[in-house]
């Protein structure tokens, strides 16, 4: 049993001014949702469970974008570039290295590392050139579009890295799934219950880790930079380094999404970086409420589920709904729909308390 002071010190780590959810009520809810997520495979078909891992795969990229855009205030429209770079890297590495001895896990780490390195190089030029918000958005978007066009023309046998053919517009397939070396036989993470639990565990770790990060001194500084870069600089912070670090962490998370997606579907295409793909993370994060990790997660999951069910029933209109959702969110609830609802609820409750 934890004594209360130790519990308070742990809570202080994951709670703070930069996250909305706090207090026993929030954590009870968090525990219940987590329990529900853990219990879900017992009540569902393992095929469905494996398919639904799809939704989890995107949450890492969404949280990374929330960190860069919501907390750091830097409009990066090119997160899918890092998604694609990591996805392709994972494919090339695993096809060449194979899936024995836990080498897929090494490939995962390397692929995320490559996307982080790419982000660090690009970010160096952007942030040390002191690019303002608008330009940051269009340069990152241009990078993504050019990468897509580059990958789309890599058809033919001359475009191969080792044994891995890049296959141009059709995309790369047949890379092995993530495999965990275990006593008495490797565990291959096909889209199934095992993969579900591994991804869920990763998600909880990343979520809590990011909560610790944004509530730390580092997190407070990046929010200060978002609020007023000049003031932060006058206070003695080298804002370029903080922005670069934020950008690299967020982009590495997009890379993690890319690896998980590629391993999940054994497939990656250039279209996963294109204009449409690049716009979707913006919708997820903007609709939920980009300035908070929890609302970003809720918003992303909700939008993904809506998008998926629309795609199943009337595939053509899904993107129109996404575009309309984005425009309406910006015009009506610029902070995000989930945050707007929370604000409304709090205001109503405080008014009731005031009236009583």
């Amino acid at each position: 049993m934890l004594d209360s002071s130790r519990r308070a010190s742990i809570l202080r780590l994951v709670e703070g001014p930069q996250t909305m959810g706090r207090g026993p009520g929030f954590w009870t809810g968090f525990g219940l949702v987590l329990l529900g997520a853990i219990a879900y495979p017992f009540f569902a078909d393992s095929y469905d469970v494996g398919n639904n891992v799809y939704f989890f795969n995107w949450l890492f990229m969404a949280m990374g974008l929330s960190l860069i855009w919501g907390y750091g205030g830097a409009l990066s429209f090119g997160q899918t570039a890092f998604f694609g770079v990591a996805g392709y890297s994972y494919g090339v590495l695993t096809i060449n290295l194979g899936d024995a001895y836990g080498l897929t896990l090494l490939s995962l780490v390397l692929a995320v590392g490559i996307s982080a390195l790419f982000a660090a190089i690009l970010g160096y030029f952007l942030f040390f050139g002191r690019i303002s918000g608008v330009f940051l958005g269009i340069v990152t978007l241009s990078v993504t579009l050019v990468l897509e066009r580059f990958m789309a023309q890599t058809a033919g046998p001359q475009w191969a890295i080792g044994a891995a053919r890049l296959n141009g517009f059709n995309g790369m397939g047949a890379m092995p799934s993530l495999t965990i070396p275990w006593f008495g036989g490797d565990i291959t993470l096909y889209p199934d219950v095992a993969l579900y639990y591994v991804t869920l565990a990763l998600l909880v770790v990343v979520y809590l880790g990011l909560r610790i990060l944004v509530n730390s001194r580092f997190g407070n500084v990046i929010v200060a930079i978002r609020e007023n870069p000049m003031r932060a600089e006058m206070l003695g912070y080298d804002i370029r380094k903080y922005q670069l670090a934020t950008f690299v962490i967020g982009s590495a998370l997009a890379g993690l999404s890319g690896v998980l997606y590629t391993s999940w579907g054994n497939y990656i295409t250039p279209a996963s970086m294109g204009m449409t793909a690049a716009s979707l993370p913006i919708v997820w994060v903007a609709v939920g409420g980009r300035t908070d990790l929890t609302t970003t997660m809720i918003g992303t999951l909700a939008v993904l589920v809506i998008f998926q069910s629309l795609t199943i029933h009337g595939s053509q209109y899904a993107l129109i709904v996404m575009g309309a959702l984005l425009v309406i969110t910006v015009l009506v609830a610029p902070k995000g729909i989930v945050i707007a609802l929370v604000d409304l609820f709090r205001r109503r409750r405080s008014r009731q308390e005031g009236g009583a």
């Binding site: 030029f125 608008v134 958005g137 913006i282 209109y317 129109i320 575009g323």
Partner: protein
């Protein structure tokens, strides 16, 4: 003689790249330079211009009329977008990027649903001429002329007409212009419409040379973005010189390694340029002058 042919070939490629950069960027640059808004639906105004002008051309009207119609249609669409979406967001320039992206998604997908995956083109007019061993499209030379004419017309418009002076006054100090009786809302609306009409013009001009698909706007976006980023906020001191520099890079790399290399080279050049000139060429020139 061989040498002169090679020079002509390079000049033609450079002129082609320059025209494409100027025409695809000037609409974006007008809106960004005057209003500080980056219009991510820029590609969709180009799409609008291309589709309308091709439809009008199919009806049997001459191409210049068709292009003017496409430009006009895009301009009107732009003014409607300004009224409905951009106007409430003037105080939040970063949000306009996101909102115009939403519009872009709606228009691209809407065009796909309503008009299908492709539209029959009208074919490149004016034939070709031969210099040395290669033949060149005459229409592309016309496009180069149109790029220069567009820059000249914009310069005249912003320096010699009443609208241009009011627009520049509004951009410099909005509240003073307003106090002096300028209808700033109208100026913003017309400026946005002008930017959209320029995008439509680019679409109409390039429609005969390319396949008409709902995603064709994206083909212009990278060029438009990089030109505006390198150029900075001023059209004449920024966009035009940026197009010259980038056109040289693109033409050199394209003739050496192919079209994609030209694009990648341009993008890398841009990323390096922003490290040195964060506010673009015009920012550098204006700063030195000041």
């Amino acid at each position: 003689m061989e040498f002169l042919y090679a020079i002509f070939s390079f000049l033609y490629q450079f002129g082609d790249a320059f025209a494409f950069l100027v025409l695809s960027a000037c609409g974006l640059a007008v809106i960004f330079g005057m209003m500080g808004v980056i219009n991510l639906a820029h590609g969709e105004f180009i799409l609008c211009g291309a589709y309308v002008s091709t439809s009008v051309a199919h009806m049997g009207l001459p191409l210049p009329v068709a292009i003017a119609a496409g430009s006009l249609a895009a301009g009107i669409a732009g003014m409607i977008v300004e009224l409905v979406v951009i106007r409430p967001l003037y105080k939040r320039p970063l949000d306009t990027i996101v909102a115009t992206w939403g519009i872009s998604m709606i228009v691209t997908q809407g065009t796909l649903i309503v008009l299908g995956t492709t539209m029959a083109g009208s074919g490149t007019p004016l034939g070709s001429f031969v210099v040395g061993d290669y033949s060149y499209s005459t229409y592309r030379v016309v496009l180069m002329g149109m790029a220069l004419a567009t820059l000249a017309a914009l310069w005249l418009m912003f320096t010699k007409t009443r609208f241009g002076i009011l627009a520049r006054a509004t951009i410099q100090v909005p509240h003073v212009a307003e106090a002096l009786g300028v209808n700033t809302n109208l100026v913003y609306s017309l400026t946005f419409g002008l930017g959209a009409a320029l995008a439509g013009l680019a679409g109409g001009l390039y429609a005969p040379t390319m396949t008409l698909v709902p995603t064709m706007g994206a083909a212009f976006m990278v060029e438009a973005f990089v030109t505006v980023v390198v150029g900075g906020a001023d059209i004449f001191l920024g966009t035009a010189p940026a197009a010259v520099v980038l056109g040289l890079i693109k033409a050199t790399l394209t003739s050496w390694q192919g079209q994609l290399a030209g694009q990648i080279g341009m993008l890398i050049a841009v990323i390096i340029v922003i490290r040195i000139l964060p506010r673009g060429i015009s920012g550098k020139i204006l700063k030195e002058r000041a």
